[in-house]
Amino acid sequence: MTKKLAKGRGDRQVKIDALGLPYRELNALLREAVAGGAESIELTNVYGQRYIGTDLMKPVRLDIHGTPGNDLGAFMEGPRITVHGNGQDGIANTMNEGEIIVHGHAGDILAMSARGGRVFVRDDVGYRAAIHMKEYGEKKPLVVVGGTAQDFLGEYMAGGVLVVLGLTLKEGERHRASYIGTGMHGGVIFLRGAVEKHQLGKEVGVAEPDEADRKLLRTLVGQYAEYFDRDAEEILKKDFIKLFPLYLRPYGRLYVY
């Protein structure tokens, strides 16, 4: 039941009904459309197809309706993906450039090892979000999570900016994640709302955001609010804490020769 592109080759706006398409066929269609000059592709009936957005290498816009499969935007370079629904595991895995906006929640290892690009998730994220996220030279990934996160948030984070807003928490509810920033040795995490000391990895320092941080937060929260139709000022009213790595090399006293 292979679906042809809804419109002919060369269209700037393309629609694809992904129902029943194996991921390989779907991704081949995407490559074909992008090669043909498509600038905006709308995918409907997406159910679990993996690797969407991988190997497109252009700033094409993808609108996904349904539930994309694992490794959405893995090794991605350029596209801007909007998911109108929930995402699964491995979103933005080792992403180099581009943007992913999820109108729902995301699964585990969001932005694992990402080296560039931006990710906005409206609601919660699973385990090990931003694990080993890096930065290098001009490349600096930015991840904004609107809800809360599960354990090992920012685990051995090495670069980039991770913001967690906690907007899904009810009145009086707190972030539950443990091992936040465990092994962290680069980058910065901004957490809206308080956490207990025991929830943090031993390599993490806590500070108040300074003026430069606040400026960055205004930008990122502003962007989040715009994407998901929220009130940025309202969000920014509540206190943020800044988590940063205490050491560049956290494991000094580990080996003997």
Binding site: F152, E155, Y156, Y179, T182, G183, G201, P250, Y251, L254, V256
Partner: protein, 501 residues
């Protein structure tokens, strides 16, 4: 009588470096160095040297080295130098050859024939630096099941007393008298800092160490030295010592010269008298008598402390262990062939008992076959040399291991095997106050804590590699072991597969 024994070691003094400062003279308790009053030079007596390295470590100009004597007998696999010299010693004395430390013979070391597993692909290894890794271990009798009250959501079952340790390594029983008070203090303090246990051995508990009671196992051995209600109450657990790996089946003998004033007070015997530990407990001639003593100790402490029974690993250890568990032992300590001692007849040390690996595997298997493994914890000891040995012991079925020699090495011991002389230049196996002060308990404590930290880090690393983050998931989990160079029978007893299979 002129001795026919040749010198064992040659002390090499670099005369260009030696500044005749006499540090070596002062450090050597065997008088292997001396100041020649005529020449004003420091010289050596090779004959006295035990190769303990004390002088080498302290020589400020690195002027000293010690070599084994190149003097060989005619090569002979049967009549080795050791055999010949033991005969010489006995023919000159008419006595049993005494020695210290553990069996140094070429018996198989099964640890070295067991190899560990690691995760690849199907199962992620766990990074111990960043993710939780749990070595916490609780020792003591466990019930076969828990009763739960569904109405209240509470457990009805109350557990027998348990000991919690942060790493599966405790310090083996070494008595005050066999080792110094400064060594004992170092062990006690290190155990309390590291969250583990040390063991008084059978020499009583010195008053100054009562404050470490929560980390102390007190021993009740056949000599019952220093055993009184306060001693029992001070401890976290009580150990009945039946046997010791270095000298299964025989008693002990602390010579009067080691019974100093402090030892005398602690052991509650007159100064200078020999402290004799009989071969058996004279209230235990059978298994039901063991039960009687176990319950006497439980009564004496109102059932607040687990009771350990320690035996040497011998041929029918599995059946004995089963009896011990049924007699009420909350823990059993198995001390293998290579276990150490402050003094034992060499012929016994080197020929009696079986390797800990086989005994441990057999005991764990037997207790499971009988469905009573839950009722006891197993502590394995006797030749645990590094964290690899520890983790293999756990995988074979031990709940924890006890280390003696390794702990003493951390304090300076070089395993020269001369503990029985009481002249230990490192201040460990001696009660001579001039020598014991060589251990600064602050530093000794730090060295032991460091050792436990290093081993624990290594255990976490290996555990994470196997995809396990709680030690209880490796305990008795022999699937993570493979054997190399072992016969089918050995593999069967160890309950492990051949590597490659």
């Amino acid at each position: 009588m002129k001795t026919f024994l040749p010198n064992k070691f040659i002390i090499e003094r670099n005369h260009g470096r030696c500044i005749h400062c006499q540090v070596c003279v002062n450090q050597c308790s065997y008088e292997a160095h001396y100041l020649d009053p005529f020449s004003g030079e420091v010289k050596s007596r090779d004959r006295n040297c035990t190769n303990c390295h004390r002088c080498v470590a302290f020589c400020p100009t690195e002027a000293l080295a010690i070599r084994c004597s190149p003097l060989d007998y005619v090569p002979n696999r049967n009549w080795t130098g050791e055999v010949i010299e033991d005969i010489i010693k006995q023919s000159e004395s008419g006595a049993m050859v005494l020695t210290g430390m553990g069996n140094d013979k070429d018996h198989p070391i099964y640890w070295d024939k067991l190899l560990l597993n690691a995760s690849q692909v199907t199962n992620p290894s766990i990074d111990p630096l960043r993710e939780p890794m749990e070595l916490r271990t609780t020792l003591g009798r466990k019930p076969d099941r828990l009763a739960y009250d569904k109405a209240t959501g509470r457990l009805i079952t109350k557990l027998a007393p348990q000991l919690t340790i942060n790493t599966p390594i405790i310090f083996a029983a070494m008595s005050y008298g066999a080792i110094s008070l400064t060594a004992h203090e170092s062990l006690a303090r290190a155990a309390s800092i590291a969250g583990t246990l040390y063991n008084t051995g059978e020499g009583g508990l010195h008053k100054s160490l009562y404050k470490y009671g929560a980390n102390t196992i007190v021993q009740v051995a056949s000599g019952r030295f220093g055993v009184h209600p306060e001693y029992l109450d001070a401890a976290a657990a009580i150990e009945i010592k039946i046997g010791q790996g270095a000298k299964p089946g025989i008693g002990g003998h602390l010579p009067g010269e080691k019974v100093s004033a402090e030892v005398s007070v602690t052991r509650m015997i007159p100064m200078g008298t020999d402290a004799l530990s009989p071969a058996p407990h004279h209230d235990i001639y059978s298994i039901e008598d063991l039960a009687q003593l176990i319950y006497a100790l439980k009564e004496a402490t109102n059932y607040t402390k687990p009771v350990i029974v320690k035996i040497s690993a011998v041929h029918n250890a599995a059946a004995i262990a089963s009896g011990m568990v049924r007699a009420g032992a909350d823990m059993i300590c198995l001390d293998g062939l290579r276990g150490s001692t402050g003094a034992a007849p060499k012929i016994i040390r080197d020929n009696v008992g079986i390797p800990i690996e086989l005994a441990l595997a057999a005991v764990d298997t037997r207790l499971r076959q009988e469905g009573i493994r839950n009722q006891t914890s197993i502590i394995a000891s006797g030749g645990i040399r590094n964290s690899g040995d520890v983790i293999k012991a756990i995988a074979l079925g031990a709940d924890a291991v006890a280390i003696g020699t390794a702990a003493l090495v951390a304090l300076g011991c070089t395993v020269c095997q001369m503990c029985h002389t009481g002249k230990c230049p490192w201040g460990i196996a001696t009660t001579n106050l001039a020598l014991t002060k060589r251990i600064n308990p602050d530093i000794g404590t730090q060295r032991l804590v460091n050792l436990l930290r290093g081993w624990s880090l290594e255990i976490e690393d290996m555990l994470g590699g196997m995809g396990i983050n709680a030690l209880e998931s490796l305990r008795g989990n022999r699937l993570h072991l493979r054997g190399v160079g072992l016969t089918d029978t050995e593999l069967e007893i160890l309950g492990v597969k051949m590597a490659g299979a």
